[in-house]
């Protein structure tokens, strides 16, 4: 069982993914929520690369990981901008305090 197989990478990715979700759900600070999102993207990337390698699917998986990393950068930029904007408006970035829009 210690022999590293595809499953090991996948389980790693699954746990990372779950931790990301956990972070998103529990952290109050918006920036930390963004960190959770990055974890999710990383987890997916591990999947792509691992599948590509073990399944011998060619370079598609790595390609996708590459794209996702680029996308993550773009998303982080946008997200940070929005968070900054929030900070300017609300003078804090605690997500749970930003709830003017509700029923």
């Amino acid at each position: 069982m210690f022999q590293v197989t595809l499953q090991h990478f996948l389980v790693l990715s699954a746990i990372l993914f779950s931790l990301g979700v956990y972070g998103i759900v529990t952290r109050k600070n918006a920036v930390m929520v963004l960190m959770g999102i990055e974890l999710i993207l990383n987890a997916a990337n591990i999947n792509f690369v691992a599948f590509a390698k073990f399944g011998n699917f060619g370079f598609g998986g790595q390609m996708y990981a590459l794209f996702v990393i680029v996308l993550a950068a773009a998303e982080a930029a946008i997200a940070l901008a929005i968070v900054l904007n929030i900070y300017k408006t609300f003078t804090n970035v605690n997500i749970d305090e930003i709830d003017n829009l509700k029923e």
Partner: protein
């Protein structure tokens, strides 16, 4: 002179009053004198009807029928072509009724000119009379039962309008409503009866229906339906002719103007029920006839017992009317058809006379109707008294009056019926009623006209009525003498009225449904001519003969006893009436309160219906509508749930799992909507739930 002339004249008689009604209703307000038109029209109508009567009786032995198709409905699977015909039938009954109705109507018009003088709706009153006359003539003339029903209802409406003529009085308005509704109860029965006939015979025309029955076509192939049809149609008569148990409207109807009571609620309209039964007489089965006889006899008895104790002059007359109508119905029930019709005619005259006489009294007494406050009017109003007395004698069945003749025949009929069928209760009731009638009628006469005045103030102002009012009284009183009907003062059998004008028709019902004595045996055919057709079988005729003298003496005896008792009580004061009343207080009150029937009806049918209505109304609002609103409420509730979905479901789900785990996380309380992380939690849950539900195995 041709048949068509007669037909045209009859139609003219029918529509002239309608014309008057329409004219007066529309223009009466602008031209108050238009009532004269109405009076003129009725006079003309009377003259024509007189002519028609003589013409028919003299020259046309056969019935004259004229009809046209009113409605045609096409060919459908279940009922074929439906033709609804309207038409008139002129036979002896019709022309006699035409005469009676028009005569009394005319006299009442004259009487009213004076009596109603000064009323603020004077012209309107005459227009209503016109409408009534039209409707009543319609009943008389029709040759089919649908038209009968139509005019039946119209008569009801005119009666409604006239009873409620002084609608400002609540009692009058109540009475008119009661009259109409009680009548409608009977009408429903009549209507269903009509439906039975029409469904089976596809026609409303009497003669066609009878023809088919005679040919053995039985409703729904079952004699019971025939009986039912007879009884149901008779229900119409129960309503209109105020038979027990629907008689309660008639006494109340006395709220209307007195001439109206004379015309409608004594002489003509209430007799329409009797007329209806004569029209359908031939299809009555033995069972139906028995029902009719019993109802009639019982009505006569009930009304007579009530009349004894009434103190309102019009109420006494009203109950006597009910009682006499019961007589006629009973007479039809026992098969004494001709005597029933005879009594209808004689009664019409003397009862109209009585009512107009009472109107004259009331007029004189400034609308005082309580006989206990009258007395001694004999001197002040001799003519009224004389006519009133003659009519009273007639109704009591004293010889030489018309009433004696007709009543005697009926009593004989009941006796014969009792002998032939063993139903002795009917003759016993009949004779009791004869005695009671004599008693209470003379009580009325004595209390009103004899003795000393009890209310001097009113008495002093009393005076004889003007000529226009007295003349009708005289005419009507004169018509209560035997001579107009038969030369023989003690038996009408051979008079022209019964001998040549009114003949009992033969039943058309299957033999097995008739009384055995009414089935014509073959060997009796020959002797029919010599015995006339007063009743419709030889056996019955013979029994009638046997009963004739017995009935005559019996009736004389009970009438005499009644009159004697009446004098003992009220004239000579040999017996103290109040004392006796106190002694039998229960019975007295029972009678005084009209057998508590009104109270009974109020407590059961009327309030029952009203309460059902209220209950259903509640049901409608709370339950039926409530169900709708309930679902609306449920909708709102659900939507509220969903509206707060974000709050409570998410939160609740979270809290629920929290409780489940045994943790009380304070942080969860802070979860509110509008928090994006809460949403994310829910998305994760949603993914899991979807996965569980839609896993592919």
């Amino acid at each position: 002179m041709s048949e068509s002339l007669l037909v045209n004249l009859s139609i003219a008689i029918l529509f002239l009053p309608l014309l008057g009604f329409a004219t007066v209703v529309i223009w009466g307000k602008r031209f108050p004198k238009l009532y004269l038109l109405e009076v003129g029209i009725i006079t003309v109508a009377f003259l024509i009807s007189l002519f028609v009567m003589f013409a028919k009786l003299s020259y046309f032995p056969k019935d004259i029928i004229s009809e046209f198709t009113w409605i045609t409905l096409g060919n459908a699977p279940n009922d074929g072509v439906i033709n609804i015909d309207l038409g008139i039938k002129i036979d002896n009954l019709t022309v006699l009724m035409l005469f009676v109705v028009n005569l009394i109507s005319m006299l009442v018009h004259y009487f009213s000119v004076e009596y109603m003088h000064g009323d603020k709706r004077y012209t309107r009153y005459f227009s209503y009379l016109g409408l009534f006359t039209f409707s009543m003539l319609g009943i008389v003339l029709t040759h089919n039962i649908l038209m009968m029903y139509i005019f039946w209802e119209l008569v009801g409406v005119s009666s409604y309008l006239l009873i409620g003529f002084w609608f400002e009085k609540k009692s009058a308005a109540d009475a008119s409503k009661k009259a109409f509704i009680v009548n409608r109860i009977g009408d429903i029965g009549m209507f269903i009866g009509i439906l039975i006939l029409f469904t089976n015979y596809h026609t409303f025309t009497f003669d066609t229906i009878f023809e088919q029955i005679k040919n053995g076509v039985i409703p729904f192939g079952n004699n019971a339906w025939l009986t039912a049809a007879g009884i149901l149609i008779f229900m119409g008569a129960v309503g209109k002719s105020a038979q027990f148990p629907l008689h309660v409207w008639l006494p109340d109807a006395m709220e209307g103007p007195t001439p109206v009571s004379a015309l409608i609620h004594a002489a003509t309209m209430v007799a329409a029920g009797v007329y209806l039964v004569t029209r359908i007489f031939v299809l009555l089965t033995a069972d139906a006839m028995l029902v009719i006889a019993v109802v009639g006899a019982f009505t006569a008895f009930v009304a007579a017992t009530i009349a004894i104790t009434q103190n309102d002059i019009k109420k006494v007359l009203a109950y006597s009317t009910v009682s006499q109508l019961g007589y006629m119905i009973m007479s039809l029930g026992v098969g004494a058809y001709a005597f029933a019709f005879f009594h209808l005619v004689t009664h019409a005259f003397f009862k109209a006379c009585l009512f107009l006489g009472s109107g004259s009294v009331i007029h004189a007494m400034h609308h005082e109707q309580d006989i206990r406050k009258m007395g001694g009017l004999k001197k002040k109003m001799p003519l009224t008294y004389a006519t009133f007395l003659i009519s009273t004698l007639a109704i009591s069945g004293v010889p030489l009056t018309s009433g004696f003749l007709s009543k005697d025949g009926i009593l004989a009929g009941t006796l014969a019926f009792g002998k032939l069928t063993g139903h002795w209760l009917i003759p016993i009731l009949a004779f009791t009623v004869a005695g009671l009638t004599a008693f209470y009628m003379f009580r009325l006469v004595i209390l009103t006209f004899h003795g000393e005045a009890r209310d001097h103030h009113k008495f002093d102002h009393a005076h004889e009525s003007p000529k226009l009012m007295v003349t009708p009284l005289i005419i009507l009183a004169a018509l209560s003498i035997f001579i107009w009907y038969t030369p023989n003062p003690i038996g009408a059998d051979n008079g022209w009225f019964l001998k040549s004008w009114v003949k009992t028709p033969h039943q058309v019902t299957p033999d097995e449904t008739r009384f055995s004595f009414m089935v014509e045996k073959q060997n009796h055919e020959v002797s029919k001519e010599e015995h006339g057709e007063i009743v419709n079988s030889l056996e019955y005729t013979e029994t009638m003969h046997w009963a004739h003298y017995k009935a005559m003496f019996g009736s004389l005896a009970v009438a005499g006893l009644g009159i004697l008792l009446s004098f003992m009580f009220y004239q000579w004061k040999k017996i103290d009436a109040d004392n006796l009343a106190n002694k039998i207080k229960a019975l007295y009150n029972f009678s005084l309160n009209k057998w508590y029937l009104d109270e009974l009806y109020d407590a059961t049918a009327v309030s029952g219906t009203l309460n059902t209505g209220k209950g259903l109304s509640w049901f409608d609002q709370k339950i039926v509508d409530g169900a709708v609103n309930g679902s609306a409420w449920l909708t709102r509730f659900t939507s509220k749930l969903s509206g707060l979905f974000d709050t409570y479901v998410v939160d609740g789900l979270v809290n629920f799992s929290a409780l489940l785990s045994g943790f009380v996380g304070l942080n969860f309380r802070k979860l509110q909507t509008g928090k994006v992380q809460t949403y994310v939690v829910f998305v994760v849950f949603a993914v899991i739930i979807l996965l569980i539900f839609f896993k592919p195995f």
